[in-house]
């Protein structure tokens, strides 16, 4: 470790790190010690061309760029004196010479580093009288990104990103001098699974996403911390919320999970929150076989009646439970207790699997498969086999992942069952076979924990409130349990209580409390690996 002094503050930093890295490591960068910068990014190779991060280092005559200067024990750095101020002014003024006056029509306004730093470190008035260079303004760069060449400040972050992260390298800087432009190879496009990250890292509005273009001004958005539900990586996100609606996900930095990135599919999965096929009412199948909207109580009654009848006639052994890896840990804990109290011996968690890569995307396409396994759910294959062999008469199902071809292969497999009770967020084929359906909350609409593939419990909180009566899975199950008179079910569901109960009763979750898990998540006490077929063994 080395001790350096920055603006009079002594800081301990790791040897071999650059000044910017050291400040970033210590959490002080732009958070107490401000060194404005464009081309540097904590997760990309050093560029050193924007020249904005110049600082004074004692003993070195010229100002040094903080992004490329390694710390040495005893180094004395000044980030805020007249010399540095003038240098920053110089860079800012020169950047604005050719930059178009697009703020009124530019999506970046409000989260634009050019605006921010021009205001903080720039000159008061523009001195240029020269026409600005005219370049292409609405380049359709590919399926996800729009590019405005005039706004580009040539920080080259996007070029480095494509080369270093997805390693697809679709972008390059052509020509030289003030004729430099960023572009793709003629006829080719920016098209990779992580393309939309370039819009995050672009400090200005040169690269913007087609999805977000012109939708809303960012200063209307509240950034709610959350977790992407697309796969078991559990990339941290900020949900951009306004008018009780989620307008976008942007990645939230977590160096233990997703660093500063998210895949495009995951980023776009915010759309499922407000999609038109959200279940928005409780339904019960009537005698004619048609679904009828009912109240929660009526649906609870209907479920309890059916299940009770089966228990009486055939015993609880014919009742199976299929859990969802989209539900929170608290929901799943209640479900486990529900099934145990009911006497069901057949249960499992249905997980859809798909492609993975060696960057962020994982096979399991749900955020809480590891959590489900840690709570004791094995893979749903066993349940599916029993259903197919006719040993099951009723199923209580969370979500519809079990319909996947790797499991039930469609709703028909459930057609012969006496009772199908479904708790789900979205409509599915289950509508054709279910007897009772409950609309439940998405992870963005409730409190809870999701455990990612590496065993990290991560917190979600309500970012939006559904426009209809929606419930968490745990709430519904608590009520059905109470209606059935199950031991330990009084009809209440307090997620914080449940969380504490889980921590008390499950070794893996000891010390994990919904209220104390921080923004960066917390590893489970014992980690359960994601394994391909049958769920993991506690280590």
């Amino acid at each position: 470790m080395a001790k350096i002094t920055v603006d009079g503050n002594e800081i301990e930093v790791e040897e071999g790190r650059t000044i910017l890295q050291a400040l970033d490591d210590s959490g002080l960068l732009m958070n107490g010690i401000d060194i404005p910068h464009y081309c540097w990014h904590p997760k990309l190779a050093v560029d050193g061309s924007c020249r904005l991060c110049q600082v004074e280092v004692e003993g070195i005559p010229k100002l040094q760029i903080a992004c490329d200067t390694q710390v040495k024990d005893g180094m004395v750095v000044t980030t805020a004196n007249e010399r540095v101020r003038r240098a920053r002014e110089g860079v800012m003024e020169l950047l604005l010479v050719n930059h178009p006056l697009d703020c009124p029509i530019c999506d970046q306004a409000g989260e634009c580093k050019l605006q921010d730093y021009a205001y903080e470190y720039g000159v008061d008035a523009s001195r240029t009288r020269e026409p600005r260079r005219a370049l292409k303004k609405r380049v359709d760069l590919g399926p996800t990104i729009v590019f405005d060449q005039e706004r580009c400040i040539l920080c080259r972050r996007c070029v480095r990103f494509c080369r270093e992260i997805p390693k697809t390298g679709e972008l390059a800087v052509f020509n030289r001098g003030d004729h430099s432009v960023i572009d793709t190879f003629p006829g080719e496009e920016l098209n990779n699974d992580y393309s939309m990250n370039v819009a995050d890292i672009c400090p200005v509005g040169a690269l913007t996403t087609k999805d977000f273009r012109f939708k809303i001004r960012v200063w209307f958005l509240e950034d709610v911390p959350g977790i992407c539900t697309g796969c078991s990586t559990g990339c941290n996100v900020h949900l951009g919320v306004a008018n009780n609606k989620v307008y976008r996900y942007v990645p939230r930095r977590n160096d233990e999970v997703n660093e500063t990135w998210i895949c495009d599919k995951g980023r776009m999965s915010y759309r499922e929150i407000g999609s038109a096929d959200r279940l928005d009412r409780c339904s019960v199948r009537n005698h004619e076989g048609r679904f009828e909207s009912t109240s929660l109580d009526a649906a609870v009654e209907a479920s309890a009646a059916r299940l009770a009848k089966l228990v009486e006639s055939k015993g609880a052994g014919v009742i199976a439970g299929i859990a969802s890896a989209h539900a929170t840990t608290e929901d799943l804990f209640v479900f486990r207790r529900f099934l145990a109290a009911l006497g069901s011996e057949t249960s499992g968690v249905a997980v859809v699997r798909g492609d993975s890569d060696d960057i962020l995307v994982r096979e399991e396409k749900a955020p809480n498969a590891a959590g489900a396994r840690a709570i004791g759910f094995a893979d749903a294959k066993g349940v599916v086999d029993r259903i197919n062999s006719g040993g099951v008469d009723a199923v209580v199902m969370l979500g519809h992942d079990a319909l996947n071809e790797s499991l039930l292969g469609g709703a028909d497999a459930l057609r012969g069952l006496d009772t199908v009770v479904v708790l789900d967020t979205h409509a599915s084929e289950l509508q054709h076979v279910a007897h009772v359906m409950f609309p439940v909350r998405h992870a963005a609409e409730k409190h809870g924990l999701l455990v990612n593939a590496e065993g990290r419990a991560q917190r979600v909180e309500p970012a939006v409130e559904p426009a209809w009566e929606a419930y968490s899975d745990g709430e519904v199950l608590a009520k059905i349990g109470a209606a059935l008179g199950l031991e330990g079910f009084d009809g209440r569901f307090d997620v914080h209580e449940v969380s504490r109960e889980l921590a008390r009763s499950n070794l893996a979750f000891s010390g994990i409390d919904l209220d104390t898990v921080g923004a960066a998540g917390q590893p489970l006490a014992t980690v359960v690996a994601d394994s391909p077929a049958t769920g993991g063994e506690p280590r």
Binding site: V46, S49, I65, L95, T128, E130, R133, R176, D178
Partner: protein
């Protein structure tokens, strides 16, 4: 057509003789004896000491001590070490390396061979600007002759030392004359200079320890080895020993090359050797060292052409490209030509350089057109100031200095354009 220098000294005295360009001819004039002496009688450490003590400054524009540069190379290295010969001569006003390549290729090669032995380099890349087709042919011919004679390749001159030479060409970019811009171009990339540290001696061509020297600088080395330090230091000044090949152009009676000792007064070169300004006109200004170096007004031509004196006048020797401008010259038009050049040649990485060169050029052009304001001069100076000492390489400084020099000494021309809203020297560049 390229002429041999009108005044010669030890570097160019035999250039007029075609034989000097062949290996046999070169040897008849004493060529390759220094290399043989160095490789068989002197240790690398001795050689480095010799060149360092000689005080030989780089002749490529920066004036850095050649011997000191050699000493930066790691003494022991399991990685191969390389030399680069910077033959990218693109500094406006400079055309001396061109003749060194065309008529003195073996002299340069001998210097390279000695440098290779001194630094332990196994390969030299001679990087020649793309437009120098004929000079490159001359060099390739000389290299082939040297290989055939066993002066390059395995077991040079039977000493057991091996050294290879690769001739490669640029493709039209001034910035490839910058040390690390050249290295990038050599590696097949855009010639965008690298951040330093690391310096080429640590991380150079293809990542290996490398020393980059200029064509002419290499050419001095055999003479120093043959004749010793005292002989060498008898030429030039105490701080700037040796000769250099000055190139004189512009409004002079006899433009051309002149090999003279460093420290020769500028006025002597311009008026005595190059014949002064023809047509009875007066000198207005002289750029002493290639276009990156600030201009000197007519009253300051007494300055000795060596860095220690030129620095006092806020300019430098650079590449010794002397450009003479007479009283018909409009310094605003000169500024326009200069700022256009730097705008065109900026590699574009650093904000201040990319945007600053563009902005300065636009302002100067607007002043030249007659649409300038007094405040434009303040902006020009301010922008030039903001480009200095804060970029990856010195190109931004080189772009700023000439403008500062012109404004320092010729602000009247600018004032005239602004006040009268037209050029007071309409004949400038029109003759």
């Amino acid at each position: 057509m390229l002429q041999c220098p009108y005044v010669t000294s030890y570097l160019t005295e035999h250039f007029a003789n075609d034989e000097f360009g062949t290996l046999e001819g070169y040897e008849r004039f004493g060529g390759y004896t220094a290399a043989r002496k160095a490789l068989t009688e002197m240790s690398p450490a001795d050689l480095i000491e010799l060149v360092q003590t000689s005080g030989l400054q780089g002749r490529g524009g920066a004036g850095f001590s050649m011997g000191m540069k050699w000493s930066f190379m790691p003494k022991d290295s399991d990685r191969p070490k390389y030399l680069v010969c910077n033959a990218d001569e693109s500094e406006p006003g400079s055309f001396k390396d061109r003749i060194m390549l065309e008529r003195g290729a073996h002299q340069m090669l001998e210097g390279i061979l000695i440098a290779a032995w001194a630094t332990g380099a196994s390969m030299t890349f001679i990087y020649i600007r793309g437009e120098y087709s004929h000079p490159a042919d001359c060099v390739e011919r000389a290299v082939a002759e040297a290989y055939a004679k066993g002066y390059l390749g395995d077991n040079v001159m039977g000493t057991g030392f091996s050294h290879d030479v690769r001739v490669t060409r640029g493709a039209g970019a001034y910035i490839c004359g910058e040390e690390t811009g050249l290295l990038e171009s050599l590696e097949g990339k855009k010639g965008q200079p690298r951040k330093k540290p690391p310096f080429p001696a640590q991380y150079g061509a293809f990542g290996m320890p490398t020393t980059v020297n200029n064509v002419e600088t290499y050419s001095h080395v055999p003479h120093i080895v043959n004749n010793g330090i005292d002989w060498f230091r008898a030429f030039g000044t105490d701080k700037s020993p040796g000769t250099t090949v000055f190139g004189v152009s512009g409004h002079v009676a006899r433009p051309g090359l002149y090999e003279l000792p460093l420290g020769t007064p500028l006025a002597e070169i311009v008026f005595e050797h190059a014949g002064g300004v023809p047509g009875g006109r007066k000198v207005k200004g002289v750029i002493p060292g290639g276009m990156s170096m600030p201009i000197l007004p007519a009253g300051q031509l007494d300055v000795p052409m060596a860095n220690e004196f030129l620095r006092e006048r806020k300019t430098m020797l650079g590449t010794g490209g002397i450009m003479v401008m007479d009283e018909t010259t409009c310094m605003v038009r000169v500024a326009s030509v200069i700022s256009y050049f730097f705008r065109d040649e900026s590699c574009g990485q650093c904000t201040q350089c990319r945007e600053g060169t563009g902005w300065m050029n636009k302002i100067v052009d607007r002043i030249e057109r007659g649409a300038g304001e007094q405040s434009d001069l303040d902006v020009l100076l301010d922008v030039a100031g903001k480009m200095e000492a804060s970029t990856i390489c010195a190109f931004a400084d080189a772009a700023a200095w000439p403008i500062q020099g012109l404004l320092r000494h010729f602000s009247e021309d600018f004032a005239a354009h602004i006040g009268a809203r037209k050029c007071p020297f309409p004949e400038s560049f029109e003759l």
